[in-house]
Subunit: 316 residues, 6 copies
């Protein structure tokens, strides 16, 4: 852009406060060299969803939400403005071949991890189906993986009735052997949102389940401490999978499967910050935000705070 004083490029902000760093200013497009620090990876795929979903638009919506916030975590006494965050962009999805799209996620993420072994990936879905290829790639690159899943649902549906959908990511992971049942912890599972058959399937596989009743009656950090303690000697690293519908519909109005009786955002953010602070936690995804049905991008705003609190935890 030429140097006329008051001309700025289209799509950029015309006003800039010289003493404020916006969070998105920490995020740089990946330059192709081995990156250290954090990496943003988008998986804009929602056609595998059982119900109509626009979650493919969430990576853009969450990136947009970063522009509304700053780098300074006053509640932690910490400024993140010198943190290196690399934006690797989004995986290109095939228009009609969904299995191929899942393959592209797995192959692309694996390749990224191989070239950037010191980078901590933060994956922006997409619907929850993306966690299956995402965690496969993670396991292939990083060794044995434990997973802490925030979700109202087990996501252990059978693969026969509808193929690999947003209801099956953890079934797919268990059946393929990519992770073991005893390495999976599910937090926030809710009444009237699951079937006993799938709970039993989970139990038989050794999955640990904390319901919303547990979350209401115990502190979230106690549950997480217990989970980490159980997993840390069994796996090489941990991956957090945050299905935003773990939250109550009042706090996450833009998820496809909304309902009452879920977590509030303060509890989720406290849990994420706690997990970020654990060195064994090395990857995270955020899924199931459909910006086309949200109110004022609220749910993507919470997602941005999930990312920022995760990093604040790591940097504390």
């Amino acid at each position: 852009m030429a140097n006329l004083e008051h001309l700025y490029p289209a799509g950029k902000a015309g006003f800039k406060d010289s003493e404020v760093t916006k969070f998105h200013e920490c995020i740089k497009e990946w330059n192709g060299e081995a990156a250290r620090g954090y990496g943003i990876l988008g998986a804009p795929l929602s056609k595998p969803s059982i119900s109509h979903s626009g979650a493919a638009q969430a990576p853009a919506a969450i990136r947009q939400a970063f522009t509304s916030y700053t780098t300074y975590a006053i509640e932690s006494g910490l400024d993140l403005k010198d943190i290196a965050i690399h934006d690797f962009g989004d995986v290109a999805m095939h228009v009609t071949d969904l299995a191929l799209s899942h393959d592209r996620i797995e192959e692309t993420f694996y390749e990224v991890y191989k070239r950037n072994p010191d980078m901590l990936p933060i994956i922006l879905g997409g619907d929850h189906s993306i966690s299956c290829p995402s965690i496969k790639a993670f396991a292939k690159a990083k060794g044995s993986v434990g997973v802490i899943q925030f979700d109202a649902h087990h996501d252990l549906r059978n693969l026969e009735d509808g193929g690999p959908s947003n209801g099956t990511p953890f079934r797919g992971l268990l059946e393929s052997g990519a992770i073991k049942g005893e390495h999976l912890v599910q937090i926030g599972i809710r009444s009237f949102s699951n079937s006993d058959e799938y709970r039993q399937y989970g139990k038989e596989k050794g999955v640990t389940i904390y319901t919303m009743k547990d979350v209401r009656e115990r502190k979230i950090t106690d549950i997480l401490q217990e989970s980490i303690a159980a997993l840390k000697d069994k796996v090489d690293c941990l991956y957090i999978s945050v299905d935003m519908d773990v939250m109550d519909q009042a706090f996450a109005p833009g998820c496809p499967a909304i309902g009452p009786g879920g977590m509030d955002s303060a509890t989720l953010l406290e849990g994420i910050r706690y997990l970020g602070a654990q060195p064994i936690v090395k990857g995270m995804d955020i899924v199931e935000i459909d910006p086309t049905i949200d109110f004022r991008n609220m749910t993507s705003r919470v997602a941005a705070h999930v990312v920022m609190n995760y990093i604040a935890g790591k940097e504390e």
Copy 2:
């Protein structure tokens, strides 16, 4: 329908997971024989509302919400899939004669109760005006009735200023002698939403009143235990009337009379589950949801959870 494999009737779901039972699958159209178990009865009437209301559309919206949830109450360790729920349909309202519509509710419900003495009715309003004929029919069929009303408002307005409206159901019940003041408990009454005149009227009649201040300072189950203890030897059965505006506007955005400072949904659902578990509780209505102004059918979704938690309480 003919037997082509992939053809399914219009309006039905094309995808079905064989290991999941959706809640609406428990609900069968009433076959005309004496029913046992639970009965859904719609009262799609909102023309008596003082302000413009589309609550007549709530029975359809709540039935729609059931299709989003399953039968399995993991937090209670209970699957409701073998429960018998009969859908008796909706009372046909006259287009222009509102008194006749109220009469039809009373007569139709009474007739249903007489033919189905072992059925526990769950009534979907409609505005709160429907509770007056509904409770009259209930009392006529079941004996003396105590009422536990969740509401931000007393609903004890005089009948002169606007006839039997959504502001008068409990006035109508008290004045007609259908219930006694000492058999009425109001929970969640809120500041700046009522008049002292009507509070005094209630007090004179012997009505018990718990304000939102009480709800914030005590456990909801303590308040309900106290209420049940006071009522159980005086009446033959209890009827719960749930005006959804007892909730804070953040949790029930689709009620006509929204405001801050109300209950959250977790508290309401816990209370309902507790009441369901009391054998003396034999009827319930849910009113004051206007789906035309709601966001993503949220308020009807909470209503579906009220129904499901009530049944979960009963089946525990």
Copy 3:
């Protein structure tokens, strides 16, 4: 349902004027026997769309729109209330395998046509990708087919870049040999909505193209008369494919690809009525309505009028 006077089944209308027949009352669920008259077939598929589309919800939205209109075509002096319209339901789509979904459309429609040779099919999409399997099935059952396509776009994109999508149905038909280029007429093609490459491809294949400029400068019935004259001796029957985005965005606000400079609804309906009156026209589809982004179901309301005017033309 039992015989209580004012009880009506959930989901039905409580008010009925005995001297008015609503259009949906002409439509009966297919009983499995060989049907005569008209048949409604739903193809609720929009996952093949290049951009995010909820067109899978259009069959339900259009059926809903029928309930708002009556059978009496006063402008034609014709009452359609004794017309037989059979609703064959919707083809069940696979959750994740889109090619299989297209196969199911083709196979199911073909089977329906074979069993019901005297039935005139009216197909409700879905995105425009459904026209490829739909017309293949039609050609297999009915002989050589000419197609009159109302559309702002050629829909002749190459099949390599994204597979069989809503941009490729006519490319797919031409390349598979299901129809010939000289048997395809495109009406309403618009500036800034296509590429010269695809226009040339069409021209080379012998496709006839009328732009919006032609539509503005000539009467729509003249264009159609000319088209019918050119096709009627070359094919056994004609199929109309109505992409609703042929209309200006002011008249069809719920199409995914909206823009100014299109047809108004009166012109489209006049054209459809004219085509309905031609005996050689034996099939029609209506596609590219996304009810999730429409305003008050307006675009599906126009679609209902397309169906009703088509039948009025046939019955004149």
Copy 4:
């Protein structure tokens, strides 16, 4: 209000251009003395509607729309700023007794006409049910009345099925003898929006019917000239009843019964201006706008232009 320079009353505009007169500035609250010129009368009633309607809010929405426009009709070379328009306010409706509300309209309007014999009433509905008592009052005060009704619908439904509703105003007028069939002209009647039974009923009563086909094929002023010629020797005065759903849904998106194939706003406004210029035309109502489902108050804005063009016609 006290005299602080920059303080202005709540609810008023803070900016005023001294050389512009806004249309609402012509409208003064009626002072109780016999008024000359024009009178605005509100009939905020929509509970008699067959389908859910918020048309009771239209008088307020139309008054609000006046504040967006000025008094200067440049296309007629006419400034209306010195015209006397009296706002008589709205009739108070009973909350639950709809027949009583209709009675109040009739009695109140009659009383207003008696006290203000030289005032030309402009009535803002409400749903179309208000035209029945409104025209009865008009006939009682002014002598025999001819009616020119702009509507997509006959509004001649039987009174048995649902009482006096928004589908019955002209049936009610004919059956009560308040007007004769040969004194009623209906313009804009649309296909698929009526039944043959009611057309026949109208024809038997001598009603003149112009369909939308007539409107598309002839000039609106020709149709109106023909209508006036037929009526002017038979009645004492004419009353125009403008059901806004006579317009296409693209131009009047806020009517309850929207659909394609209707009038555009330029045609309607030209017709109204023509009618205003006829001295025999002495009253008008505007009905069936539901502001709760409109987009940006568009339909009420057209209504404001109907009023302004009517007056411009009278003042030409």
Copy 5:
């Protein structure tokens, strides 16, 4: 208005319950004489906002919200119906000269305070920029002022980058010497919403800062008691400035700068009631509500409750 029984002025409510006083009925237009009690003053200005804001429409939206509530504070056992509240109207803003608009606020408020020394002002913004001239006027009329600011943000931005905006009111007050840093308490400051630079600036000036972490871990009344104790001997009076974005986006969806992790409405209202009860608190403003992006006027409804709870506190 003339005396026809069922005619009422346009814009007024047609239904009135004789035993209920709506809150807005306590509010009378100021008659120009020295007022006692409470005064409402509107500052409808939002053009100084950094991002696009419609907060200029909030005074009207909050006044509208008062019409939804009553005078009876059942939770405090207190009826406010005899309280005198004077509506002084809104300051007229210049269309294009923003500095002049700020001057008008300061001058007009000062003049109002001088003429009404015993009136407690309640100021309805507007964006937060109005607090700078508002507090200057307050200090000039009332003596030295301490400020308790509820806000997610410091609002201490430099004045060079964009002039006096909604990011600078407290910077403007400190730099002009209108208030001292040690007389300013900020409550609810949130992570990722500020910069360390401005926190340091505040600290250097002696500002007291409570973050949302403090609010989550302590009772709001403890924090306020501590704040009052620190200020009460240093200043003549206290002014509360309530930026509604101190609340979580679930409770205040209509603020321009929304995000998760904020206060709930019950906490804010309890704090306000506590502050109202302190005699040293003599003024309050409520800012940063943009009704054009709110859902069902929810945020203005909370603002109405802030006003009502403040008065309830004062009258206890």
Copy 6:
């Protein structure tokens, strides 16, 4: 960006058809060297608007709309894909000093014109106030200027009542002597949207006025031919100022001042194409689109077509 096959930069489209050029692909960021061809310049300013306006967001919305269309103008037989269009970005506005913002527009545009004498500017507002500094800069750089203004309003308000606002641009130009009255042509002026005082002011200054009645009764190209003929010997060049509210609200729902009775989009686009083809026309602005109140960006989509048809006219 690194070279992984399926990875694409955030914010870009993942699907690309190799045979289609999207219109925005013609637009390149200005490289600082003297540009030939067309230039896009944004003036994102709407704080000077009399009513609340978000028109500052229109440059971004129009640029976004370009991504929905292609370069091929089939109706003109013309592909624009090799046209050079330079995006100069947007002028940075001051947050609070509106006069300074106007100055920056004038200075920046003048500087751009001086450095790029062979570039044809296309200016994206902003409210109409930006046309005053924009045309001043144009005149200073290009010589004497004639202006063809499409608008429902004169925009000749006095400058005393509210300073230089969106109601005053042409008053400001006439009073400053930047243009002469006889060099200004206004097209589309509408009834009830102006005052006689300002029409008279215009007439006295020699302004030519065509009302909507003229547009309805004559062909738009006749009016424009007449206008060009009158201007072409008196000025060095022509500038078109397109206030989108010249269109009917059905076609331009996102303008602040909407109403019925305006132009349809086909007429406007035909006029623009005609003007583009005149060599004396050398500049254009498009103003008064508020994307925050639009439906599906419809009004910005028409604006994109205004730009594309203008260029198609020039290239014919």
